[in-house]
Each structure stands twice: as C-alpha cells, then as structure tokens.
Symmetry: C2
Subunit: 260 residues, 2 copies
C-alpha cells in the first residue's frame, strides 16, 4: 500500500505538494484517473482519484521551471487511521552521531509515538540538532507504517525548558511522566513495565511522557527538577542501553503495555 | 567502562587479539601495569593487568610487520557477567538494505539475545547476507552494552532448514516458539505479550525462539512447516513494522516480559 501526504486538503479535493507529486507521477507513473491514498498527517486517510498532473492549472498560474502539484478528488475518508490507544511524548537528548537519532526517530514512529522532543541536557556533548531531516524521516516513517498522523517534532530546547513547559502533573487523569535515569543517585527505581501496567485501569487514552538522557546522563539538578514536576525515575531493565536504544525501548514498553 | 575481548584465555592469563591490542595500546594508550577488563565472549569478565605490549614475546617469535598481541595477567573473574534471565533466538530474514539488518543486530544485542539466525525465506528478495560485518557488530555491541556473552551468529540458511533443525518442541520445559506473521491466513493470532506472560510461571530461564519474515512475508508452506514444528503464530501489535523493527520489537517484548 502506497501512501502520499498532503498539507492542502480542501472541501472535496486535495493537492499533493511538489515532492509528493513528483514521486506519484514521475516515479510511480500514476496518471489522472488513478486511485491514490493520501494522509493529511493529522490522523485522516483520504481515498482519492487523481484529477490532473501538471501544470497545476486553475487559479494558480505557474511560471516556467516552477514545481508542479497534482490535484486529487476525495472519494472517501477514514479518521484516526492507524492510530494507537495512547498518547506518547518522547523527550530525547541528541546522540553524538546524528544517524543514531534519525534511526531512532524512524523506529519510534513505526512503533507509535505522538511527539518527539529533542532536548539538550546539561551534560549533552552534542548541543545542536538539525530538524529538517528529522521532519522528512517522521513523514516517511508514518507513510511507510500506515499511520495517518505524523508525530509532532518540537524545536530543540534544554531539558530544563522542557520540564518547565510541562505544567501541572495530572496523574488522576491517566497521565504518567517518566525519567529514565542511569546513575545510582535515586534508587530503587521502578521498572517501567510495572508503572505502565497501572495505566490500563484508566479510562481513555493514557498520556505518557518519557525523558531520555544523554550519554553522560542527566545532571542531578535536571533529575531534581523532573521529579519536582512529577516525573518518576524508572529503570528500563538491566541492560546498559545507548540513548537511542533507551528511547526505542521506552516506546516499545508503552506500545507493548497498552495494546488493545 | 571500556571492555576488551579475548579469544585466548589461559590459566591465569589471556592474550588480546591484534585488533583489540591495537585499540588498547595505540588508541587508548594503555601501558603495561594498567588494569583492563576483558570478556571471553562466552559469559565471563576478567579483571586483568597488562603484562607487556609488543612484541608478543615468549615462545611466539614474530617476524617484521607481524601484528602484535598483548598479554594480560588475570586478577579475578566474574561468570554470567551482564547475562539476562532467558535464552532468546531470533531468526530474521535479510532486509533489502543490509544497513537495516546490521542496525537491528546491534540493537537486539544491546537489549539481550543469545542467537541471531539469518534465515532466507521463499519470498526473500535478498538471498545473500555477509556475516563478517555482523560478527564485528555483535562483538562491538556486546562490549559496549557490558555483556560477557557475544550472541552466537548462525550461518545463513533457508527458513525451511532452520525449522527442520529445531527438533522436537519442549513446551513443558518453558520453551516457546513464535512466528511473527503478517498475512490474514492464520487468525486470530495471540498478542506476543500474552504468550510471554505465561513464561514467568516456569522455573529456570525460558527459551524463546522468534521467526521474523521478509518484506514479502512467509510463504504459506513456511507457516505450515513452522506450525507443525510447534511455532505459534503471534501478533506484534497493530503497527505495521518493517522486518528489522519487528525483530527489535520481539526482542524488547521478551526483555520487558521476563525482567527480574
């Protein structure tokens, strides 16, 4: 099943962006009249029929060399397409090697997350993260794994800024905030599966946030700030995991715990 | 913690292979008298003191240009170092892109597996897999994630050969054989976590084997052969996962289920 993406959905029709149009018409050689499936990245899948290829026509006159966008007529739609029964935010410090972060972003999208927040820890070696490529990876992984929603990618911020922006904890409504922490300062930590098991008792989709630190771990100040904001220190088991593997493990734990 | 590997452990001493010696002496600039930690890849960690760097000396005379190997005196040792409370074999078909298979091999080693069996399905597009790089990746991931045992890498074989080599199923002794299967021919399949939950009741380390198919899925004949050999068709949840993500998810499911 081939999925396309559109950020321009109108009443009864939608327009594919230039890159998607090129893939659809030139690479896959679709022609006007072909049926295609398109996500809006916000949860809905549209079954469509390609109307025209290029030039885009109508009111949008295009100059020579301008990129072409295809119009498609919407035949039917499905909301909450490929959705999961939880809301998961992963706040993950950059890895030294950006490839590892990108691979993680792809895998957690396949498994199922809602928001990826790149956060810079006090002990992060890498303090800059380019989000352009990450946006493309999240889009591509969502399409490939048949999900109507593209995970939201937040702008990079510090761990402290992220924690400060969390607001009041709402444990009673099935919200869970977890911080995966390696050092021995806070012990014993609960095993993540034991905490997630409790979530099943809550009605509605539980909301889970997991903070994953850098190679050098969180600073004591960051751990204290997180705990003050309601984050519970958790263990991801006895294996020593790299940052990106810890993030995947946290996503898998939520996915495997809250399956319906 | 920096870990080295040796395949030559004697009574009271061990010798680092040439590559490990170069990393230890030339890159990390260790000197005779320094303490180092060395795994034998079969479960034991040795605390050692470097005796000499090069030439290897003793009875082993070396010609000019020959690679150097360092000798270390064993001070103490720990068996079952970094072990996990289960035995997991992952039999995974090659991915079209070999990078994805190698990434998977690294991740499942970090999480914790015992045997990786590359298996070629009837519908596998890629039918050849180079194991040299995989051996290096498994070694490197075991050292990095502080495990004394390097997962065993089997030679590539067909799915049918792998199944035929499994022998009798021993469910009563806590053995579980699972096949992750996408198509709708066998339904309903059990969710992997529900089956793994039963393993906790068994005494001793449960033995789990998971078969993960190629992009084009297993053939009906392969599924039938697997089921005849005691493999239970399982679901890895509602997300559509790539081959390598399915393998990681299966390893995470076992790791997160059978934690002690």
């Amino acid at each position: 099943m081939e999925i396309f993406y559109s950020d321009q959905v109108f009443e009864g029709s939608l327009r594919l962006p230039a890159e998607e149009t090129a893939h659809c018409m030139r690479v896959l050689r679709h022609r006007p009249g072909d049926e295609i499936d398109v996500i809006d990245g916000r949860g809905t899948l549209y079954h469509c029929v390609l109307q025209e290829d290029a030039p885009a026509g109508g009111a949008q006159k295009r100059g020579k060399g301008e990129e072409q966008t295809a119009l498609a007529r919407i035949v039917s739609s499905e909301t909450s397409w490929g959705s999961h029964p939880y809301r998961l935010t992963l706040a993950v410090c950059p890895t030294k090697n950006p490839d590892r972060y990108e691979w993680m972003a792809e895998k957690v999208t396949e498994v199922g997350i809602d928001t990826l927040a790149p956060v810079i820890g006090e002990r992060s070696e890498r303090r800059v993260l380019k989000t352009d490529r990450l946006h493309r990876i999240l889009l591509s992984a969502a399409k490939q794994s048949l999900k109507g929603t593209i995970p939201e990618l937040l702008e990079p911020q510090t761990v402290m800024e992220f924690i400060a922006g969390m607001g009041e904890a709402r444990e009673a409504s099935g919200e869970l905030r977890l911080i995966a922490y390696c050092s021995d300062e806070v012990k014993p930590r609960a095993f993540i599966m034991n905490l997630l098991g409790q979530l099943k008792e809550h009605a509605g989709a539980p909301e889970v946030t997991v903070l994953i630190g850098p190679e050098g771990d969180f600073s004591p100040a960051e751990v204290q700030a997180a705990m003050a904001a309601g984050f519970v220190p958790v263990s991801l088991g006895s294996s020593r995991l790299r940052t990106e593997t810890a993030a995947i493990t946290a996503a898998e734990a939520v996915y495997l715990s809250i399956y319906e």
